[in-house]
């Protein structure tokens, strides 16, 4: 079984850098790391291949300058190989532009299953997995909490507000994996050393047959016109206990649909 995992490499949240005032986009000239939300997809893929008894996990990522800092973490976790797509024309790509690139790179792998995080930790658009599925003509299942492959089908538990749906889907399928549903393994020392010799295919737009006008700033269907500071958090409500504080707290949480 071949599983492709979409992996985004993001600026380290501990040192997130700054916005570029000209483009209103995040500067990405610092070291990039594996987006934690994608580590769940990598872990899920490794577990599925382990359960299948054979197969491989291939990573696909798009980043400037053939950056592989985050990919190496996922390779050290146990993925077999990776594709990194870099091209100067990709600067400014919106979610759809990114999805076009990822879909083209994934298609070359002829996967049985494509996994992605539900949303990245820097962009938070949350639409790339579904766009990739649409562009590839594949079914899409979102918010998976568990996946198993049985009889050539994917059996997926899909999280909902009320619980979860049981979904059965033919392969290949694109599935987005909810954060926190598996515990990503730590890279071992031998995994880190082995990652150095794992193949990383470097591709550009020409190699993927994508017209530069369809991606990057040129192809973006959205424009960030302004960026404002998030409003300061408002002071919380103080509940004085007159004997009924517990009831008011329960009512408050009930309003938020937490209970």
């Amino acid at each position: 079984m071949k599983v492709v995992v979409c992996v985004k490499q993001i600026p380290d949240p501990a040192d997130p850098g700054a916005l570029d005032p000209e483009t209103n986009t995040l500067k990405r000239d610092t070291k990039l790391i594996l987006d934690e939300s994608d580590s769940y997809g990598v872990e899920m893929a490794l577990q599925l291949v382990d359960a299948a008894g054979d197969g491989e996990v291939h990573l696909v990522s798009m980043a400037a300058n053939n950056e592989v800092g985050g990919l190496r973490t996922a390779l050290a976790m146990g993925a077999s190989s990776a594709t990194i797509v870099s091209d100067d024309a990709l600067g400014g790509s919106d979610a759809l532009g990114t999805s076009k690139v990822l879909a083209a790179a994934i298609a070359r792998q002829e996967p049985d299953l494509v996994l992605a995080g539900t949303e990245s930790s820097d962009g938070y658009t949350g639409v790339v997995p579904e766009q990739v599925a649409e562009l590839m003509g594949l079914p899409s299942v979102t918010f998976a909490k568990s996946i198993s492959i049985e009889g050539g089908e994917a059996k997926i538990q899909r999280q909902t507000e009320a619980g979860y749906d049981d979904v059965e889907c033919p392969l290949p399928v694109v599935v987005s994996v909810t954060a926190g549903v598996v515990e990503p393994r730590y890279p071992s020392f031998k995994g880190i050393m082995a990652a150095k010799s794992k193949p990383v295919d470097e591709l550009d737009l020409d190699a993927l047959g994508i017209d530069a006008a369809q991606v990057g700033w040129a192809g973006a269907g959205q424009e960030i016109v302004a960026v404002d500071e998030a409003p300061a958090r408002e002071a919380g409500e103080v509940i004085e206990d007159d004997g009924d504080a517990h009831e008011r707290i329960v009512a408050f949480l009930d309003d938020l649909k937490i209970l």
């Binding site: 070291k31 800092g69 973490t73 890279p187 020392f189 995994g191 880190i192 050393m193 990652a195």
Partner: protein, 387 residues
């Protein structure tokens, strides 16, 4: 020596820090208070291949150098695990160096693969009640049993991890007279057989999750193949591992200092007195800034020593200098951190007192600061021997 970012080292740091993050300060404080070895932590580190990182690949280890091993122990210590975490590992990480370098194939093949996966705990038995820095005075004796093997009798102190360890690297006298030179001492890898070894932990100031013990050897039988290297050359075999040990301890010390400064800086940035943050007072910020610089300098000295060792260059001066500077910087950082937190620094809850107790250790062990100065004065600078 290259100061450019090393992708391997960055990944090692990332992975070890992520693993250590699961074992917070409370974990270490509880284990310290209960005098309980950190088994959960040790097993996780072993499973990740970090305990066997420096064992040669042919025996299933990581085959990495002292630079990488030092980095691992530095990040462990800096996580807040301090000496309780790093010294739970370090004897297996590099303690078997004399076995790798000098032992017969049977010893290597029997024990190194188990050490590589963290399954073999090793203690180190050199110091005796009357033979500390002056190792030539060792009286623990291995006598010929007449059948090619040995019988060991004697008493060692400060044998770290003797309670958890199955085997011990033991320096014992096979020949010669105590106090008359180092020839005549031989190195063995012995079983800590409870029938013949009485192990008693020594109550001590800190690092209480990892016990150091007094071990009495009473007619302990040792088979001939357990002799490491040449009979009578044991001290010289141990010397080979002393520089790596100093480098690792320097890295660990710097990690403790970093943990202490992290706590102190956070506190100085949030604690207000007389209407202002205490960190805005130079009497608070300057000592912390100096501690930061001292730690950085010691860490770079450690890296140079590690680089020299890994590249086969002499590193006695560098390893001793690194250990000395790191011990001073670490304790100074912990002491100023304690001062910054004031009464809270003295309270167990804030962990700085634990760092302080553990940072103090490096100034006396495995060699005192004074003996390190003697080494530099005599062996590096050519000054007369002073003792």
């Amino acid at each position: 020596m290259d100061f450019a970012p090393n992708p391997d080292h960055e990944l090692i740091i990332e992975a070890v820090e992520a693993l250590c993050a699961r074992f917070d300060d409370s974990y270490w404080s509880e284990h310290d208070q209960r005098h309980e070895f950190p088994w959960d932590f040790y097993r996780e580190m072993a499973a990740g291949g970090w305990v066997g990182i420096a064992i040669p690949e042919q025996y299933g280890g990581g085959g990495a150098g002292i630079a990488e091993a030092a980095l691992v122990l530095n990040r462990v210590a800096a996580s807040g695990a301090a000496m309780n975490g790093s010294s739970a590992l370090h004897l297996t990480v590099f303690g078997l160096n004399p076995v790798v370098k000098f032992a017969n194939d049977r010893l290597k093949e029997t024990f190194l693969p188990r050490a590589a996966v963290g399954d073999l705990h090793v203690a180190f038995g050199v110091t005796e009640p009357d033979a500390g820095t002056d190792t030539s005075r060792i009286t623990t004796r291995a006598t010929d049993d007449g059948m090619g093997g040995w019988i060991v009798n004697g008493r060692k102190i400060w044998t770290t991890k003797a309670l958890e360890s199955e085997v011990c690297l033991l320096l014992a006298r096979t020949d010669g007279i105590p106090g008359e030179g180092f020839d005549g001492l031989s190195l063995f890898l012995v079983d800590l057989d409870p029938e013949h070894c009485e192990v008693v932990p020594i109550p001590k100031l800190g690092r209480n999750a990892v016990a150091s013990c007094e071990v009495a050897y009473d007619d302990l039988p040792v088979e001939s193949w357990r002799l490491i290297g040449e009979r009578g050359r044991g001290f010289h075999h141990i010397l080979h591992g002393l520089n790596p040990e100093r480098i690792l301890l320097a890295a660990m010390a710097c990690g403790i200092g970093e943990a202490a400064l992290r706590r102190a800086t956070a506190y100085a940035n949030e604690r207000e007195v007389f209407g202002r943050l205490i960190g805005s007072n130079q009497a608070v910020s300057h000592p912390l800034a100096k501690a930061h610089m001292d730690l950085h300098a010691a860490m770079n000295m450690m890296r140079e020593a590690a680089w020299r060792y890994d590249n086969g260059l002499d590193c006695g001066e560098h390893a001793n200098t690194a250990k000395y500077l790191a011990a001073e910087a670490s304790f100074s950082a912990a002491d100023h951190a304690l001062q910054t937190l004031g009464g809270l620094g003295y309270a167990t809850e804030y962990h700085v007192e634990r760092y302080w107790r553990e940072a103090r250790l490096q100034r006396i062990a495995p060699v005192s600061q004074e003996m390190t100065l003697n080494y530099i004065a005599q062996n590096v600078m050519g000054l007369p021997r002073s003792y």
